[in-house]
């Protein structure tokens, strides 16, 4: 066997991985936050850039970012035209996402969050009379959750590579035609209070700045660039927020 790489065997049970992230690990970038507030590159007024810098400084001790994934059991994933069934749970992802997940062998459900301390601070900001700091903190919190989601995706990619597999992009309920109400089904596939995140009755994630979704894993899958043009959901808020989006 010398000289020939051995492909590690694929674990047949669920794999769970949780990570707690230092603020510095998030490597937040000013231009992404400015962009989330609507500004094209280097066009935010100095007062807004200074406001972002202030919020970042102030929120640093309050960020307890966490992320993780549950790699669901193999061999129990069934693909439909507009849905995917995993471990007996049928997710109505819609045609756009189902097409992107075609060919996956396993599905990972992930969660990423800015944490409770940030949530409580953000809630206090909402009661301040001048909402500019609140709006900036909203963009910063979303970016923290988004970065944590990127980190969980990168980690899963590395872990999957060890098994000789690739990963897809990440997809979340509420986007690309996947009903937000499916969030409850998604969370039923996770351990309780995974990464500290729970759902309200109206499937609102708390802490507020949290992201959840699925990532596919397989030998023949690929990471596709997010393409609003291929999605029929013309009213999606992400479509309009993305500069240059159709």
């Amino acid at each position: 066997m010398k000289g020939r790489a051995m492909k590690p065997s694929v674990p047949m049970s669920r794999t769970i991985r949780t990570m707690y992230l230092e603020f510095g690990e998030l490597a937040l970038r000013m231009e992404r936050i400015e962009n989330a507030l609507g500004y094209p590159l280097r066009s935010a007024p100095p007062v807004v850039s200074a406001g972002i810098a202030d919020v970042l400084r102030e929120c640093e001790p309050r960020v307890e970012a966490a992320c993780g994934y549950v790699l669901l059991q193999p061999g129990r994933t069934r693909m439909g035209e507009r849905s995917i069934e995993v471990e007996g749970v049928s997710l109505s992802t819609g045609g756009t996402i189902a097409a992107c997940l075609r060919g996956v062998d396993r599905l990972a459900v992930f969660v990423a969050t800015a944490g409770w301390k940030f949530h409580e601070w953000f809630e206090r900001l909402s009661r301040e009379p001048d909402p500019l700091r609140y709006v900036i903190a909203d963009a910063v919190g979303s970016e923290i959750a988004e970065r944590a989601a990127e980190i969980v995706e990168e980690t899963l990619r590395t872990d999957a590579a060890l098994l000789g597999m690739q990963v897809t992009s990440r997809y979340s309920p509420g986007y690309c035609g996947w009903p937000l109400s499916d969030q409850r089904l998604l969370f039923s596939l996770l351990p309780p209070v995974f990464c500290g995140v729970t759902l309200t009755e109206t499937v609102f994630m708390v802490p507020e700045k949290s992201v959840s979704g699925v990532i596919g894993i397989g030998e023949r899958v690929e990471r596709k660039v997010y393409d609003c043009g291929s999605c029929p959901d013309v009213l999606c808020d992400r479509r309009w927020k993305r500069p240059g989006a159709p």
């Binding site: 507030l37 909402p131 500019l132 609140y134 709006v135 509420g174 609102f204």
Partner: protein, 228 residues
């Protein structure tokens, strides 16, 4: 102060509101640093005997209107609108006593809130600020507001217009319930709905009187149904 000077000062006031120059100490915008802002110009106009209603109608409201047009055309973004609202508020601190003495009459009352089950606040807050900047008295009930609370507020403010916000598809049914309760208990109350997942079709289906894609659509609706 002569009429020409008054007109020029009102125009400067409108520019201060549009560009978010709250007062002389404001560092924003950079090119207006060191100059008087909305706060000083409003005080100057009042001292010159300009009627407060004229300051509102020819200085503040046009300033908010212009930033609104730019926002709709995506030339400016939410923080710019909030900076404009901040400047508007700096001026309003001088005008508030005249509202109390009825020297200025608001266009009407707008009651706004995010429907029950939904905790999203920012879009609703933005609408509230823009509507207030357009000369309306605004009652912001906050988030997660039960239908009965809207009804109670409408009953205590006859003639008020209601705005409902929802940001989740899962709370849109609660918007439907709220509209139904309002239409059943206070059928003459105009109701406008908005929020990321809400569409004009959905608004029509649930019996709302209008759909607002942005805060300025709400202002247009308000002026249509109840504005002076």
């Amino acid at each position: 102060m002569e009429e020409r000077e008054i007109a020029e000062t009102l125009e400067r006031l409108a520019e201060c509101v549009e560009r978010g120059k709250a007062d002389a100490s404001s560092l924003h915008p950079v090119d207006l640093r060191g100059r008087d802002g909305a706060e000083e110009l409003t005080r100057l106009l009042l001292e010159a005997g300009v009627p407060p209603a004229r300051i509102l109608d020819e200085g503040l409201i046009p300033g908010m209107g212009r930033i609104g047009e730019k926002f709709r055309e995506k030339q400016v973004f939410v923080p710019d609108v909030l900076l404009a609202a901040r400047a508007m508020h700096a001026a309003m601190n001088h005008l508030r006593p005249f509202f109390r003495s009825r020297a200025i009459v608001t266009r009407g009352t707008f009651i706004i809130g995010t429907v029950f089950g939904d905790l999203h606040d920012i879009g609703k807050k933005l609408v509230a600020m823009v509507v207030e900047g357009s000369g309306w008295d605004v009652v912001d009930l906050g988030v997660n507001v039960e239908p009965e609370r809207f009804v109670a507020e409408v009953r205590s403010r006859p003639g008020a217009v209601v705005g409902l916000s929802a940001l989740l598809t899962t709370t849109m049914p609660n918007m439907r319930t709220t509209v139904a309760v309002l239409k059943e208990t206070t059928p003459c109350t105009p109701v406008i709905v908005g929020g990321a997942p809400v569409t004009p079709e959905f608004a029509a289906t649930i019996g709302a009187d209008a759909y607002g894609a942005d805060p300025y659509a709400a202002v247009e609706f308000l002026h249509r149904v109840g504005g002076s």
